[in-house]
């Protein structure tokens, strides 16, 4: 499986924050089982910060590694900071992704954003879930 970086392999073999949060403050789902990837992110928010993040992912090695690293990158961040996690940053943090797996990094960032949107909506904030900019590789 030499197509993946060591970092991807490490996160795939030992994914962080796998699971669900029973009383999550926000839930975001991205992807589609028909396409082969589905990610669900659960967040807890305390004082505008992500105090806990869990995920469940159906997909390839890259999809699982992306979910893991996104959860790690976002943990403890403010909602605004967490929103700045772009697919490019995710891919960089993973020491690169194969070109045809780049879309996985988009899914991860998008699922987290949707969870934040869901939280804000529950707080009565009006949010429009906007499709994030699609990356060139898509």
């Amino acid at each position: 499986m030499a197509v993946y970086s060591e970092k991807v392999m490490e996160h795939f073999m030992n994914p962080r924050n796998v699971g669900e949060i029973e009383d999550a403050d926000g839930i975001g789902e991205e992807g589609n089982p028909v396409c082969g990837d589905l990610m669900t992110f659960y967040i807890k928010v305390k004082d505008n910060r992500l105090s806990d993040i869990k995920f469940k992912t159906f997909g390839c090695g890259a999809a699982i590694a992306v979910s893991s690293i996104v959860s790690e990158m976002a943990m403890g961040k403010t909602l605004e900071e967490a929103r700045k996690i772009t697919p490019a940053l995710v891919a960089k943090e993973l020491e690169g992704l194969p070109k045809n797996k780049y879309h996985c990094s988009n899914l991860g960032a998008q699922a987290l954003n949707k969870a934040i949107d869901d939280y804000l909506r529950k707080q009565g904030v009006k949010v429009e879930t906007k499709r994030r900019r699609k990356d060139e590789q898509e």
């Binding site: 795939f12 073999m13 028909v34 082969g36 159906f58 390839c60």
Partner: protein, 395 residues
């Protein structure tokens, strides 16, 4: 760590006897078979001996064998070359929906050049229904192609019946036998086909060795123009060591076929019975009985193939998958989809293709290692979580 290679559909390892047979033709016997001196004679005689062995494997005449570089080349050559030879009679081609890409894409290329193409569907076991073939035949049908067996799901087709239909319609019938030649008994006369492909690396011969058999009297337009190699049908200096290796592999296959089949099918059945009894929600893909002796293919629900392959690889096991994420093109296997398997299940495809060097212990190791891998991925899977919640709600 135990190492278990179960990806023989991708390529088999070469047998030591095959390598030994090839070695002299890299070293001392380096002549060009076309040359008129002792070096040439030596190479030519060895190539002709190999030709006889390949012919014997499939019940053909030596002069009907054309050596090629691979199964892919043989399939390209056959589809394009046979169609080109027939096109004054008609330009309609019929192939099955689960052909290998080297057949399917060759047919698509012909389509772009003005041929009409009909794809015959398969049932949920991957079987082509001869009735469907009969319905697809038209006045201008000149070529039909159905693979002997599909290496991905293992289903063996009723070739004799389909070939008879083609013959009645006056069309040429071709079969891609890459998955079967050298693996199960095969006789071109008995099958009633007009042309057939095979590849050495599917039965313990070298990579880069293949052959196309074309029945005497059947016309084919050459693909590679040049000298008069291979009876003027395939130019280019012969790849002598590969040809010798293919010949040796054919000889061994003819000799050992029965014992190989016995060994392979016993291991296969151990997997086919063992996996579903250890893992829930496993679907056998392919035909339950009309199946290649070394093929054990499944779809494992709620999880994805590539992540299974990675975890298996980590434990020393090599397997394959038809999932979208595994393919560079990110498309789920056209074979599984043609069998009516939904996308989300096809993503969980897992293929073990067994070889002669595998042992019952290898199979037991897989049966021991795979269930925790499946469990681990399912614990991560939102699809499995949804399914489990629905189940408990129903209870």
């Amino acid at each position: 760590m135990r190492k278990v290679y179960l990806d023989n559909a991708a390529t088999t390892p070469m047998l030591p006897e095959v390598l030994e047979a090839m070695l002299p033709y890299f070293r001392d016997a380096y002549g060009n078979p076309q040359s008129l001196h002792r070096w040439g004679d030596e190479a030519r005689e060895a190539v002709e001996d190999a030709r006889s062995k390949v012919a014997a494997l499939i019940g053909a005449q030596p002069e009907e064998i054309i050596f090629t570089s691979s199964g892919t080349e043989s399939n390209n050559f056959a589809i394009k070359g046979l169609a080109a030879a027939q096109q004054s009679k008609g330009r309609h081609i019929v192939i099955s929906a689960i052909e290998h890409f080297s057949v399917l894409h060759s047919a698509r290329t012909l389509e772009k050049q003005g041929f009409e193409l009909t794809l015959v569907p398969v049932d949920r076991y991957g079987l082509v229904d001869p009735e469907e073939v009969a319905r697809s035949i038209r006045e201008d049908t000149v070529l039909l192609s159905v693979m002997h067996a599909n290496g991905e799901v293992g289903t063996i087709q009723p070739i004799r019946e389909i070939a008879r239909l083609a013959k009645e319609a006056g069309a040429i019938f071709y079969t891609d036998a890459v998955a079967t030649a050298g693996t199960i008994p095969l006789d071109v006369g008995e099958l009633g086909v007009d042309a057939l492909s095979l590849a050495g690396n599917q039965f313990y011969g070298p990579k880069g060795s293949g052959a196309l058999w074309v029945k005497k009297g059947v016309r084919i337009i050459p693909f590679l123009d040049g000298g008069v190699h291979e009876g003027g049908r395939r130019a280019g200096t012969e790849n002598v060591p590969a040809i010798i290796g293919l010949g040796k592999a054919s000889e061994l296959a003819s000799k050992e076929m029965r014992s190989r089949i016995e060994h392979l099918s016993a291991m296969r059945d151990r997997l086919l019975d063992g996996l579903p009894s250890r893992i829930d929600h496993v679907i056998l893909t392919g035909h339950p009985t009309q199946r290649l002796p070394g093929n054990a293919s499944f779809c494992i629900e709620f999880i994805e193939g590539e992540s299974m392959l990675m975890l298996l690889n980590h434990q020393g096991i090599a397997a394959a998958s038809g999932s979208a994420c595994t393919s560079k093109a990110l498309k789920a296997s056209h074979v599984l989809l043609a069998m009516g398997i939904p996308h989300e299940i096809a993503h969980g495809s897992l293929l073990f293709s067994l070889g002669v060097s595998n042992t019952v212990e290898d199979i037991d190791y897989v049966l021991e290692v795979l269930p925790p891998i499946v469990d681990r991925l399912r614990q991560m899977s939102p699809l499995y979580a949804k399914f489990s919640k629905e189940q408990s709600r129903r209870r």
